[in-house]
Amino acid sequence: MSHAIYRAAELIVRAWVKLYLVGVPREARGQRRAEIASDLYEYRLNVQEQGISPAAAGLYLLLRCTAGALDDLLWRSELGGALGGLSMLYRSAARAALATAFILLLPFLAMQLHLGVPDPGGVTEQVAWTPFDFAFAGVLLFGAGLTYQLIAKKMGSVAYQAAVGVAVAAALLLVWVNGAVGIIGSEDNSANLMYGGVLAVGIIGTLIARFRPHGMARVLFATAFVQALVAVIALIATQTDPSFWGEAIRTQQPSPVLQLLGVNGMFIALFLGSAWLFRTAARGGGLPLVQGRRVDPRAG
């Protein structure tokens, strides 16, 4: 079935299966993956036989997957013995939560002690986070930490782990910097929404590449390219229409052009670095989910 929504739904289901199977013993992983592959095939056949609209079938597939997501995680935790006590998912989540709590403790303590941080203009500003700031930072840090734990740490070579770490850190920084101060002008400048495209390319590309290092290298190159594209658009727009930069253009130090080149250059370097690491990992091979290594579901 070639409908885009249906294809995307199948990809999301397969990516979810891969995600919750990370760290599951090989035999159980192979069996569950094969069972879901069979289920998806039979479902597709059923949709074609009954003449159901592919878009509706795709959405229903997503709904069916989402409705069972909790059971997927509970099934995983029921393998506790095989995983050695607490399931890896819970341990990963606990580690990510601990790291998040530790990092958030720093601004919290700074607020209690009325500490300040110097800003680029040399004026010291006191740390004053709102509950929303803590919640925003908490979700970002926990999400990034859990993603890294689940994908990188359980899945391969040092190069692959480093590649995921750099990519996740760059994405986290991009969202944080944009949310806190904005890359183009201030955080209120709607031109910063263009950076959503950078993240979208990264996320959709990752789902399509299914975490394979060859594909991930291409995704990170594309992400770096889109980041550069946004910078070029912002530069051209700033030159032709100074209001594009927002109110801050007259007072901004360093100049908008330097700031754009510096900040975007840093992100481009991070994404390219991650792409290079993925390529190195692909050349080294030896990853559990890489090169489509087949696990005989009947093994053992």
């Binding site: 289901v13 069996q31 569950r32 094969a34 069972e35 879901i36 592959a37 069979s38 289920d39 095939y41 039979e42 479902y43 059923n46 069916r64 997957c65 989402t66 409705a67 069972g68 997501a69 909790l70 059971d71 997927d72 509970l74 099934w75 029921e78 579901p297 009947r298």
Partner: protein, 122 residues
């Protein structure tokens, strides 16, 4: 969480009853999607059971000896050009569990059918 001895959860009862209907219809073995379709027939909205819920329950039933499974022959799957199917079959223990659950339900629905009620009948 393990069930109390002799007690089936609603999803497990649904699976076993649908499996027994398929057995009566001539299909001694069933795969995951087939049982989901059979279960949906008995529902008002014809909803398919969520994948996670279905396969978790199938695993539990197999672990508790109420179902047994095998992977179909790879040649057969290759001939049909489809992924391998995991085929389940209800065990004798599974049939007994369904019958026992049905009897318990019937007793709850009609207390006069219960053994103590029968004993008290003059």
């Amino acid at each position: 969480m393990r069930r109390k001895p002799g007690e089936l959860r609603p999803i497990e009862m649904d699976i076993l009853e649908a499996g027994m209907r398929l057995l009566v219809g001539g299909a001694a073995e069933f795969h995951g999607f087939l049982i989901a379709k059979e279960m949906a027939k008995g529902r008002e909205l014809k909803r398919l059971t969520a994948q996670g819920t279905l396969y978790r329950a199938l695993n539990r039933l197999e672990r508790d000896g109420l179902l047994e499974s095998r992977w179909e022959d790879a040649g057969e799957a290759a001939k049909a050009r489809r992924p391998l199917r995991r085929l389940y079959r209800i065990t004798a223990g599974g049939v007994r569990a369904v019958e026992s659950q049905r009897a318990t339900k019937a007793r709850h629905a009609n207390p006069s059918m219960g053994p103590s009620a029968r004993g008290a009948t003059p």
